[in-house]
């Protein structure tokens, strides 16, 4: 999730998730904007501490599932009833609804299939992950055992640097975004 504002970003490297979480809370309460945190694993409560909006992926998943349900209904209707009525075990094939119980497994599976796959692709798309995508994390150590935080610089640079050091940052660097 990138940031579009053209201002200076200060990067601070940490080596403990609890320290990062506390630092984010501290910085936000003193008026700084933490634009991004890179972490090797999800940190519980970090999204809330950073003030991120709740994901809309679950709402999307509901509609993906619904789409799967309708697709499966259409598929079973077309293949089993409309195009070439199938008589399996003497079950009624004149109306889709009469034979609906035997299509429930298909409807269930396709609901799950659509929800899971489309949710996964949506996630990749939103996060700009695709084959050949360039890594977005500024420091490869964030894929191992370090945590990197990006803070937008406001006010004096030395104040922020001092604060970050107090909060337990190991390395601090500055980039123009």
């Amino acid at each position: 999730m990138g940031h579009t504002k053209h201002n200076t970003i200060v990067r601070a490297l940490f080596n403990d998730d609890d320290v990062v979480l506390d630092a984010v809370k501290d910085l936000r309460s003193s008026g700084y904007h933490v634009s991004e945190v890179y972490s090797p694993f999800p940190i519980h409560g970090l999204d809330e501490a950073m003030g991120l909006d709740r994901t809309r992926l679950s709402t999307a998943a509901f509609f993906y599932g619904l789409a799967g349900l309708f697709f499966a209904s259409w598929l079973t209707y077309y293949t089993m009833t409309a195009d070439w009525p199938q008589n399996i075990g003497g079950k009624p094939n004149a109306y889709w609804f009469l034979n609906m119980p035997s299509f429930v497994p298909v409807m269930f599976e396709l609901t799950v299939f659509f929800a899971a796959h489309l949710m996964c692709w949506s996630y990749f798309a939103v996060n700009k992950l695709y084959p050949g995508a360039k890594a977005q994390n500024p420091d490869p150590r964030t894929t191992d055992d370090h945590f990197l935080m990006e803070v937008e610089l406001e006010g004096e640079e030395t104040d922020l640097t001092k604060k970050l050091q107090e909060l337990g940052a190991l390395e601090i660097s500055k980039v123009e975004a």
């Binding site: 679950s58 709402t59 509901f62 075990g89 003497g90 079950k91 009469l98 119980p101 035997s102 429930v104």
Partner: protein
């Protein structure tokens, strides 16, 4: 510490008394109206009764395959009736047998009505007893703050169990005819009531073994509830970790015991009503229904306690988890319901499919209403995360689930006992009020007996800080 106020107590007692009165009035009216059973003679021919596979099968073919074959319908009926009268079953003249059968069904209704309510309220306690055991076995931390409510709910199994046992044992004295297999001489070859299929089940369904099993359930379940409560109370005074360990052992043993008895009790108490019918997953199906309705009751109880200004350590995170459990198990119930239904529907074997035919034909409204109450409405109400964290939507879903599972038990028990002479009147409302009153009384008075929070539970901190 929660105080069971006199006013609430009076309300609970009033509900119980009113329930008894309504039932007695209903019983008297039911008795007086049973002599106009004449109308039963005509309707009975339409009934797809359990014991007649041929007839039922014919009707199944008609009802599902060609809707406009009504002319054929009658022909089929006559035919299968003829065939049926040739069987040893019709030692009486057919007319007398029908009249007696109808009278039995009408006379069964008061007993079945109590029985449905008793099974439903048994589930509210039994589900939480099992869930309480799970908390210890799984070393769950989030729930440490509401264990006392589960303990209180587990005690509510005692009264329904006694009522169920009494009704079941009254069947041996032929006070009612809810259990077809209890009919005299049904297993004796050459007896006028002889039924080969039921005779084949005699090894399991006989009075002595049945009585022993019922007693085992009562003793085992009540004992487990008592022990879990005992060590939980002891932990307040002493070593929390040691008492927790003891409870864990008890809970582990109980879980295994319950794994077996939840199935067998469902066969004994409910499935044996439709004696000819059988389903291998009936035990889990019944268990799932009991489990989900007990979550609904726990949610209402928890929110009641919070509404009274207690349990400030329980917040929307705990409610979220309870809501998740209720949601998950209402889906689980549907899964089992469907698994049982679809195989029987697809295979269409006469002795299995009669069970659903009767429900489709005679119990259409309660049958489909309970399906939507138990699945579609709870799913839509508490599917999203925010909905599970607000008491309004969760309470709404809990009420859907409670009403739905009462109807579910109704549809499980009534068709086999009263056939098409079912209804919802004084006889049904009475027992519901009776058990509601007693349930409130038992649960709230045992909640009031101990502090609402464990003092020395080893995972109390986890429960207090629980968030998601």
């Amino acid at each position: 510490m929660f105080e069971f106020k006199t006013k609430t107590k009076q309300l609970a007692i009033a509900l119980t008394v009113v329930g008894v009165i309504l039932w007695v009035v209903g019983f008297a009216l039911n008795g007086s109206s049973s002599h106009d059973a004449g109308h039963g003679h005509d309707t009975h021919a339409e009934e797809s009764h359990e014991a007649y596979p041929g007839e039922a099968h014919a009707a199944m073919i008609e009802s599902t395959y060609n809707d406009d074959a009504n002319a054929e319908h009658d022909a089929h009926h006559e035919e299968s009736h003829e065939a049926h009268s040739g069987e040893p079953h019709a030692a009486h003249s057919e007319h007398d047998a029908h009249a007696e059968h109808t009278a039995h069904q009408i006379a069964n209704r008061p007993w079945s009505a109590i029985y449905v309510a008793a099974i439903f309220f048994l589930g509210l306690g039994l589900g939480q007893l099992f869930f309480l055991g799970i908390q210890y076995v799984a070393q769950a931390g989030w729930s440490a703050g509401i264990l006392r409510l589960m303990e209180a709910q587990s005690f509510a199994i005692v009264i329904p169990l006694i009522v169920i046992a009494i009704i079941a044992f009254l069947g041996f004295g032929h006070v009612h005819h809810m259990f077809h297999w209890m009919v005299e001489g049904i297993h004796i070859k050459g007896h006028e009531n002889y039924d080969a299929l039921i005779a084949g089940k005699r090894a399991f369904l006989n009075p002595i073994f049945f009585t022993i099993r019922i007693l085992i359930y009562i003793v085992g379940w009540v004992w487990a509830a008592k022990l879990l409560r005992k060590y939980s109370l002891l932990s307040d005074a002493g070593d929390g970790a040691a008492m927790w360990k003891k409870n864990r052992g008890i809970a582990a043993a109980f879980t295994v015991f319950y794994a077996v008895t939840s199935s067998t009790s469902a066969w004994d108490l409910i499935m044996s009503i439709d004696t000819h019918w059988f389903s291998t997953l009936f035990g889990w199906y019944t268990f799932a229904g009991m489990f989900v309705s007990s979550f609904a009751a726990l949610i209402l109880l928890t929110l009641y306690m919070k509404g009274q200004g207690h349990m400030e350590w329980i917040n929307e995170n705990h409610l979220h988890d309870l809501g998740k459990f209720m949601f998950a198990f209402s889906v689980f119930w549907t899964y089992l319901w469907f698994s049982q239904f679809v195989l029987i529907w697809y295979a269409n074997i006469p002795e299995e499919v009669t069970y659903y035919m009767q429900r489709f034909e005679q119990y259409k409204v309660p049958f489909f209403t309970m399906l939507s109450l138990n699945f579609i409405l709870p799913v839509l109400a508490v599917l999203s995360r925010p909905a599970k964290r607000v008491s309004g939507t969760v309470v709404m879903a809990a009420i859907f689930v409670l009403v739905g599972h009462y109807m579910d038990h109704y549809v499980m028990i009534m068709p086999g006992t009263v056939g098409d002479h079912f209804g919802f009147g004084l006889l049904e409302i009475g027992p519901i009020l009776f058990f509601t009153g007693l349930y409130i009384y038992v649960v709230l008075s045992s909640v009031a007996k101990a502090p609402l929070k464990h003092k020395n539970h080893p995972m109390l901190t986890e429960s207090n800080n629980f968030h998601q």
